[in-house]
Amino acid sequence: MREITLSQAVNEALAEEMRRDPTTFIIGEDVAEAGTPFKILSGLVEEFGTGRVVDTPIGEPGFMGLAVGAAMTGTRPIVDLMFGDFIFLIMDQLCNQAAKTHYMSGGKLTAPLVLRTNLGATRRSGAQHSQSLHALVAHIPGLKVAMPSSAYEAKGLLKTAIRDNNPVVIFEDKLMYQDKAEVPEEEYLIPFGVANVKRAGSDITLVGTSSMVQVAEKAAEILAAEGISAEVIDPRTIVPLDMDTINESVRKTSRCIVIDEGHQSFGVTSEIAARIMEQSFYHLDGPVIRMGAMDVPIPFSPALEDITVPTPEGVAANARKLMAGEMFNG
């Protein structure tokens, strides 16, 4: 099968859905001729014109708010938020407006929009361009949250997001834009709320999101060489979250580590770990371990930044302790 980059996969998904549905449009900063700083959208304005690939002034609350109103009145905006860190700027429009529109109107109004943004540290971008803030929006009822772990997921999940009638936030890992994966030529969609068992195993379950799926897979290889069989699960969407697949795996392996690049406290790892302990407690042989980003602003210095995020070696070390029955102190 052909291999394309995550960036190309996103571009293809957008082009295909924009051809399919004339009410879709892209809006954000430098999305047209510039194609974003990551060059993900290159070529789209040439095909769809500036009426549907809309460059905005640098004012995130304004264009996010505009997208909510556009979505409520019959179009399907695909908002490009240049960095996930800027989500703090649009919180009112996303969380007070878009997320609540359907509920507050008793089901009469909808806001079918997609917010594409990114996450991921270790790009030497400093504390305001490196955060992984998906837990913030996953906390808000009414928003769906997708976290593609490769080019394949990026394309299939984005196409599903664009056709969804709810506001959907997709977090792409900005360090993965040039990573290649097998992506079929023919059309496909990936349903929300269906986890993917990336690797089968019997001793321990590693649940990873976004690029942490790769970290989990590398950890699984390290562990395999030591005779420990790890199962790797990619939830693909954290809202909705496929607990059935996770519980099934944990009940089989009796051990679990959850890995996510958001800050560890009050985050996605905590949520998934808590659900496992509520739903599969009597199947567990040890505590469910959370591995998130350290609870510090992301530092600039490479010497510091690299130790803030989970690594395959760190995951493997925790897996060994879990296998050995050692207790953890958090």
Partner: protein, 325 residues
């Protein structure tokens, strides 16, 4: 007063709509004072000529976005008393099945995209609605209602910038009722409010918000121009809020005097002014107008009675509508 409409029926409809708003608010206030309404609400009384003058210039398919002080906009855009009172009381038959309440009434059947409890919260929505109209080639115009207090929100300037750059069919209607919650507008707004819109190249107008015909005449012109792609526009409507910031804001002499309130209520009341004009012009007699008021009072009383007796939503609805199925 100027002549915006020349049809007797339309004049009387404007009068009737203003009376409907005042009557709705009087009843809502009574529901609050008698502890029959959950929560509290923000009265539109005094500002009726703004909502009616503007909405009478719109078609049903045109859109509006509203505010926390939104009952007037909702009535003016065509909503019914029964569903509105049901919503205020959290009942199943409310416009939002009781999930929105006073500050979130939306009536999409009449183009009302909803009230908003965040000050300035709907400015993006209104601008996006206008973006849809332009993108899909519809001639819908959107009116964004907001108060003088909301002019302090940054998003207003972000969306006016885009609306002006892209010639969007949106009219920003700033209802300047003199108070930003409990603070005089002069203390929160530096310089000129209309000059802010003009800085973006948006034509801005100031109009007497107590004169329904003046408001309507101006809006008719701006709506027509908006449909031709000449938008956006900005209107500052000078008006007055009879009640406090909300129904519980009773003792307010620390920020405005009773004399001032009395002056507006007796000398500048939009309904009284319009009634005087209607009788002077021979369009309606005092008896005609009294009959209109009586009929509306009876309608409101019946709607209140209905809403008080109506049932609450079944508790199974609590997690319905979080997501579109």
């Amino acid at each position: 007063m100027s002549d915006a409409k020349t049809n007797t029926e339309e004049y009387l409809r404007m009068y009737s709509q203003m009376v409907r708003i005042r009557t709705f608010e009087d009843n809502a206030n009574q529901l609050y004072l008698s502890a029959k309404m959950p929560g509290l609400t923000h009265m539109y009384s005094g500002q009726e000529a703004v909502a009616v003058g503007i909405c009478e210039a719109l078609k049903k398919t045109d859109k509006i976005t509203s505010t926390h002080r939104g009952h007037g906009h909702c009535v003016a855009k065509g909503a019914n008393f029964k569903e509105m009172f049901c919503e205020l009381l959290g009942k199943e038959e409310g416009y939002c099945r009781g999930k929105g309440g006073s500050m979130h009434i939306a009536d999409q059947s009449n183009g009302n995209l909803g009230a908003n409890a965040i000050v300035g919260g709907s400015m993006g929505i209104a601008t996006g609605s206008a973006f849809t109209a332009k993108m899909l080639g519809k001639d819908d115009v959107t009116v964004c209602f907001f108060g003088d207090g909301a002019t302090a929100q940054g998003i207003l300037y972000e969306v006016m910038n885009m609306a002006a750059l892209w010639n969007l069919p949106v009219i920003y209607a700033c209802e300047n009722n003199g108070y930003s919650e409990y603070t005089k507008t002069a203390e929160i707004a530096a310089g000129s409010i209309t000059a802010r819109a003009e800085a973006f190249g948006i034509e801005a107008f100031t109009v007497d918000g107590q004169d329904v015909l003046a408001v309507n005449e101006l809006t008719e012109k701006l709506v027509a121009r908006s449909r031709k792609g000449e938008g956006p526009f900005f209107i500052e409507l000078m008006t007055y809020r009879y009640h406090g910031h909300h129904v519980g804001d009773i003792n307010r002499e620390y920020y405005r005097s009773k004399d001032e309130e009395k002056l507006w209520k007796t000398e500048r009341d939009p309904i009284t002014k319009f009634a005087t004009w209607l009788t002077k012009e021979g369009i309606a007699s005092d008896a005609d107008l009294a009959a209109i008021t009586a009929e509306i009072s009876a309608d409101a009383a019946a709607a209140v009675e209905y809403a008080l007796a109506a049932k609450y939503p079944d508790i199974s609805e609590v997690d319905q509508h979080v997501f579109v199925a």
